[in-house]
Amino acid sequence: MKTAIRTENLTRRFGSFTAVDGVNLEIEEGDIFGFLGPNGSGKSTVIRMLCGLLLPTDGTAEVLGNDVVRASETVKHSIGYMSQQFSLYPDLTVMENLTFYARIYGIPRRDRRARIEEVIAGAGIQDYRKRLAGQLSGGWKQRLALACALVHRPRLMFLDEPTAGIDPVARRELWNLLFDLSGQGVTFFVTTHYMDEAERCSHVGYIYYSKLIVRGTPNELKQLEELSPPGTVRLEVRCPRLPSAMRVLAEKPYVSDVTIFADSLHVLAEQGSERRIATDLESAGYPHAQVISIPPTLEDVFVTLTQRRKAV
């Protein structure tokens, strides 16, 4: 496997503020790399440095074998970038936007038509060719943006929160599109806040306050020792009145962490404490609590890691 992205000690400072601090990444071609982290932790800054939009203050980054500072223009031919904010021309039609990007990437006139039709079909926007981009709804705008970013057949795509603010169906369809392309060998670097999206990535990295805390496959991360220290067990507790039940459990000495997860509580407790939880809840007025052992989710991973860092 060839390396698509490699960064060493990648750092970017804005004045006295360090937005990205010594990030080391290695992403192989064909990966779907999910880049996670709270708002303002430096995700977009990393992407911008990798695209050649921002110069690193320190460290190096290689994209598809080219240094992003010295060979930024070479890199630009083989990468696609979809920024957080919709950045196509609202007063141009779908077709005109696509034609513009096809031209600017220097796709020869004879191939242009076919290439545009290819991405139109891929993104499923056949019915909107003549629609002004500004009149498309959120999900279709994202598809168009993706189509524009793909028109020159990039080998590596940077997507900065591509699914922010679009409905679940459009979100799923967009991901199906990414999987199709990934199957064709395109590498993806995607930032997201959605855990279900992170679970779909082949690799994930978690950045917290400018520092990359952890990276690996979703499964590797779930098995981190930090997450389930020896002698502890991760449990799901189903009972009525979750918020008050959570407070009850949080006071127990054998419980090290408890959070509400949709319609249940996720509890990190001493091994073998399943029975004690059930009885303690019953005596506190929460009868018939169901307690089962569960593997950690990625959200558990990130919540735990974030809390550890905060505590330090």
């Binding site: 911008r48 695209c51 050649g52 939009l53 921002l54 110069l55 930024s72 223009e73 630009k76 031919h77 990468i79 970038y81 920024s83 904010q85 919709f86 950045s87 196509l88 021309y89 609202p90 007063d91 141009l92 005109e96 513009f100 990007y101 031209r103 600017i104 990437y105 220097g106």
Partner: protein, 371 residues
């Protein structure tokens, strides 16, 4: 080096054509500006409000007042009956000039003595005061000479008879002087702002960031933005010149094609300034502020209203880096004095040089990276 030039030009043309409202404003607004300002700005001061305090009241004094009235420069608003009233009329702004004729005016003239006429001028409006002063002196001188010639039995002719002939604008019409300048000002403000906005808009919407990750070249991007607006600027100039000719009847005595060629250079230079602004401004608001920074000196220091020669020396340097300075000279030269290429080539060359320098600075300032 010009990578992406045609794609950007093509796209920019779409933006311009699709935005009807801006296109409409772009072409109509200058026409309105020209019509309004062209008629409003008249450097010739006429009908100066005047009050009279005539203590004499006899024939000689009435003759003098008639001379004032017939000059066309003074309109008698009121007759007052005391010094206090005379002064109050000026303080209150009802009159700019007050004429006081003493009771012994006619007597002294008849005795062959010097008679005094007191004239008060409102100096708070120096343009009016200056003009009034000149006219009043001329009238007094004229009247004195008449009286002397008459009493001495001299012929009507003076030893020196200056015969000034005003070339090119014999009637000294203000529009002849002002309107060509206005054409320059309007072309400059519109083209400069539009180009600046065309880039700043992309900064604001984030499309510029998207462009920066493409292989488009800096020169391709900036020239691609500039050229469509050069066409708009040219159309604008033709509009303004037609208006100047038809509405204000300012003649275009010289070669129209030559005027058009120099006009293109001027448009190029102002578009370059627009691009330079766009490399400094992050949003529309800042672009407007920066444009004002260029526009105000252009109005006040380009020779549009006041001659450059009468400005303090250090400010000449400012005047000579403003493209409008050269363009206004060229415009007045070709349209009024029928000047040709041989007379104006150096002005055009300066304009071109400024344009190239400004554009080079803009290109070198423009980076394909974010701050």
């Amino acid at each position: 080096m010009f990578k992406g030039l045609t794609s950007i030009m093509y796209k920019e043309t779409f933006h311009i054509l699709r935005d009807f409202r801006t296109l409409f404003l772009m072409l109509l607004l200058p026409v309105m500006d020209l019509a309004i300002f062209g008629f409003a700005i008249d450097l010739e001061v006429r009908n100066i409000a005047t009050v009279v305090y005539n203590l004499d009241g006899r024939q000689q004094s009435r003759e003098l007042l008639d001379m004032f009235a017939n000059s066309g420069y003074f309109t008698f608003e009121d007759v007052v009956l005391s010094d206090a009233e005379l002064e109050r009329a000026i303080v209150r702004g009802e009159a700019k000039v007050g004429i006081k004729i003493p009771p012994d005016y006619s007597d002294r003239l008849l005795r062959g003595e010097s008679a005094q006429v007191q004239v008060l001028l409102d100096g708070s409006d120096s343009t009016v005061a200056m003009q009034a002063l000149q006219v009043i002196n001329a009238i007094a001188l004229r009247k004195s000479i008449d009286i002397i010639s008459e009493s001495a039995g001299l012929p009507g002719a003076f030893p020196i008879d200056a015969r000034p002939r005003v070339l090119f604008n014999p009637d000294m019409k203000t529009p002849y002087f002002m309107v060509p300048g206005l054409v320059g000002m309007i072309m400059q403000s519109v083209t400069m702002l539009l180009t600046a906005f065309a880039v700043v808009r992309e900064k604001e919407t984030g499309t510029l960031e998207q462009l920066m990750v493409t292989p488009v070249s800096r020169l391709g991007l900036l020239l691609g933005k500039l050229l469509p607006f050069a066409v708009v600027g040219f159309i604008e100039m033709v509009f303004a010149l037609i208006l100047m000719r038809v509405l204000f009847r300012v003649p275009i005595a010289g070669n129209v094609v030559l005027l058009g060629m120099f006009g293109m250079i001027f448009v190029f230079a102002t578009l370059g300034m627009g691009l330079l602004i766009s490399t400094m401004a992050q949003n529309h608001m800042q672009a407007v502020q920066l444009a004002l920074l260029i526009m105000l000196p252009s109005i006040l220091m380009s020779g549009f209203m006041f001659p450059i020669e009468s400005m303090p020396k250090p400010l000449h340097a400012v005047a000579y880096v403003i493209p409008a300075t050269y363009w206004i000279r060229i415009l007045r030269g070709i349209s009024l004095r029928s000047a040709g290429f041989a007379d104006l080539w150096d002005q055009g060359l300066w304009m071109l040089a400024i344009g190239i320098v400004v554009l080079s600075i803009a290109v070198s300032r423009f980076r394909k990276t974010l701050a």
